[in-house]
């Protein structure tokens, strides 16, 4: 085409060409910054949200835990907020509670497996705990049965019995997969 033979103003290597290039990149970059910046800002929002401090939650009555040393599973009920939704008195997890013969103190174990967070179940024999995911086995007091994929025993939770006989458990979650019991 004839127009291909017309001269071209300031070819690519000229000084003005450089200035125009730099300006283009800066201007275009600024224009793009707004959507990307706003997006990343909103995307990072979850990092602002801190977990509420662990608190004691009423789980059951002392009388509901037979004093035979066998752990029983109880749901943990609490109000829960999921982003915009507020759930009132919802099951948010489960604990195993047990007490020894004639004892007034209750031991609590979290049902969350310390290996990778599956739900640890009681064997049907009632003799031990077993996690269905990778077969970690635990004794009735939560102790580790070697060899085990789990790096530590089941997590004991702080537990107290109130004056009115209500059993309260300090609901905490611990980091999975590590030997030390560190709060999440």
């Amino acid at each position: 085409m004839a127009q291909q033979h017309r001269p071209v103003v300031h070819p690519a290597d000229s000084r003005r060409g450089f200035l125009a290039k730099a300006l283009s990149i800066i201007t275009g970059g600024l224009a793009t910054l707004a959507p990307v910046g706003a997006g990343v800002w909103a995307f990072l929002d979850p990092l602002r949200r801190t977990k509420a401090a662990a608190s004691y939650l009423p789980v059951t009555e002392l009388a509901a835990i037979p004093d035979d040393g066998v752990p029983r599973q109880f749901p943990v009920i609490a109000d829960r907020v999921d982003a915009w939704t507020g759930f009132a008195a919802e099951p948010i997890g489960a604990v195993y509670l047990r007490r020894a013969k004639g004892s007034e103190t209750v031991e609590a174990l979290s049902a969350t497996c310390p290996h990778a967070g599956c739900f640890v179940e009681m064997e049907s024999t009632g003799k031990c705990f077993r996690c269905p995911c990778h077969n970690s086995e635990f004794t009735l007091d939560g102790g580790i049965v070697a060899p085990s994929p789990s790096p530590r025993p089941m997590d004991a939770l702080e537990c107290r019995v109130a004056k009115n006989g209500e059993v309260e458990v300090k609901w905490q979650k611990f980091r999975a997969g590590v030997a030390d019991k560190v709060e999440q």
């Binding site: 127009q3 291909q4 017309r6 001269p7 071209v8 103003v9 300031h10 070819p11 690519a12 060409g17 125009a20 290039k21 300006l23 283009s24 990149i25 201007t27 275009g28 600024l30 224009a31 793009t32 707004a34 959507p35 990307v36 706003a38 997006g39 990343v40 800002w41 909103a42 995307f43 990072l44 929002d45 602002r48 907020v81 982003a83 915009w84 939704t85 507020g86 759930f87 009132a88």
Partner: protein, 677 residues
Amino acid sequence: MKNATQGDVVKKGVFGRLADFFDDRTGYRALMHDALYERVPGGARWRYVWGSTLVFAFMTQVITGLFLWASYSASAQTAWESVYYIQHEMAGGWLLRGIHHFMAQAMVVLLALHLLQVVIDGAYKAPREVNFWLGLILMMLVLGMALTGYLLPWDQKGYWATIVATNLAGIVPGIGPSLQQLVIGGSEYGHHTLTRFFALHAGFLPGALIVMLVVHLALFRKHGLHAKQPITKPDAMFWPDQVLRDAVAMLAVMAVVLGVILVPALKAMLAGEPVDVGHLGAELGAPADPSLPYAAARPEWYFLFLFQFLKVFEGWGATGEFLGAIVVPGLIMGVMFLMPIIGNWKLGHRFNVAFTLGIVAGAGLLTAMALNEDYYAVWVDKAALADAQKLYDETGGDEEKLAAALGGDKAKITAMEAKWEKLEKIRHSQAFLDASKQAKLDAARAIELAGRPEKIPPAGMLELVRTDAKSQGPRLFAQHCASCHAYVDPQAPEAASVLAKASAANLHGFGSAAWMRGLLDPDQVAGPAYFGNTAHKDGDMVNFVQNDLTDADTWKKDDIEAVIAAMAAEAGLPGAKPAEPAVAKGRELIASDERCGSCHRFRDNGADLGTACDLTGWGSRDWLVGIIVDPTHERFYGDTNDRMPSFGKADEGSLAPLTRAQIELIADWLRGEWYRP
């Protein structure tokens, strides 16, 4: 030679070598060169920026859209809620949503400009016909994304606008109803309407758009830029000369969008007011409610001309809608598709330009008409129509009476009728303005409620709104109570005229000391705010207030005040703090069979029920619910009940006029009991 090459490699360094590595394997340098070093005949020009700004606007939508997607939840119970969360609770969510919302509008404007320029410059002619057609398809895809995006927040305006749009799709002959059902994902609007619209908005349509856009750009490069003739200046390279202009235009578009979002904040800051970022950027209406009429329903402003156009066919029924919504727009699109062919004729190009400008002008005119109809009441001079309004009120709008009133003067009658027409327009416009105002109030209340510490119930925001006394009370009152009862602040300037129209007591402040003070005021008790317009006008209570209570020997001023305090204490309105000693004294007086207790039951004073209202718990929630349920109950008016229906009592085999929950909402609203942040 060999040494020299090795020397080069050393000089290049790590990045240079990495670049060589990738260039060897991809040839990216040549690709970049091809992409950037396109010749721009006659040099870079501002008039070539529209296409690039459109691509930029689209990219902005993709970026912001993906980030919004990361927080949006498409279901009838979570769409509004998640958008609320983005807008009001997430850091930066307001900005993200604001950019997406306003860039969508900018895109429509840029599209129009791009199209205009292509048509005016004749860039649609051979060999660029196919690219022109692709452009038109791209335009429809963008409009489709605008239409589907409008619904996604699931607020009142999006919901009702979508109902209209999908109903119009339903009038296409033959396939219409099936088409409609497919689009809304069933026969009712709900979860699947949202999931489908979302899939269209964020998947199908942009996917198709990207494919079309790639071809559009490839063809654009193949044919080269359609240069404005005559070419007088030397050519330039696309990079950086035209790119710089494009980038400046993009930044300008973004600046406008950011300006629209941030200017209100700037204004507030300059005025020293606090800035609530949640209210910046895109609006969020009240959650969609199929049971709540929404007279403020309007499409987004760029579809307003279509909305107005449909009114041209008003009165033609379904045929009219078919013509207005489908045939005429279809014909216009048809002509646009034919433009490259029409352009081959001698006067074809001129026709195309004239046609396009005509469409733009027509759309502009229709938009102006639509806005004029809606906002007529704002800018019309109402004072000039005062005489017409007066005459209208006197004659009730009856033309015969008008003729009589004007003595049969034809000229005067015609002039007056013209004025009446204006009044009619004002009424329509005012209805829209009132509805818009109400919509704003509802939206603000919904957002206030969503921010409660308890958050939104799992059933969704609508449940919370529907059980909110503050927003539901006035509606229920207007529907069921206001035909008799007034609800007006006695101090308000319009109080007298409102009270004059009422035929039962004014319930504003019912349960307060002020209300009781008015009842016990001999000048007011038989007035329109109390018993004046009822059958109790000459009843025992009026008689008592006017004759006994005025006897200063038995009823000292303090006694009356004590009764007032005790009654306010019975009601226990939120925030009311009647003085305790007065309350105790008042209770004794009320219970005493020589005072109020001679007619009224009060607690355990043993007075018979049926002679007068039981004052135990007067004005409390329970008492109010009771009287609304059944005023003929012996606790209330018994057989002396004057016209008030038993709202909670059903005749056998039928439903009560109001449910228990509705009655409770009215009671709570009258008592001012609702959530306050």
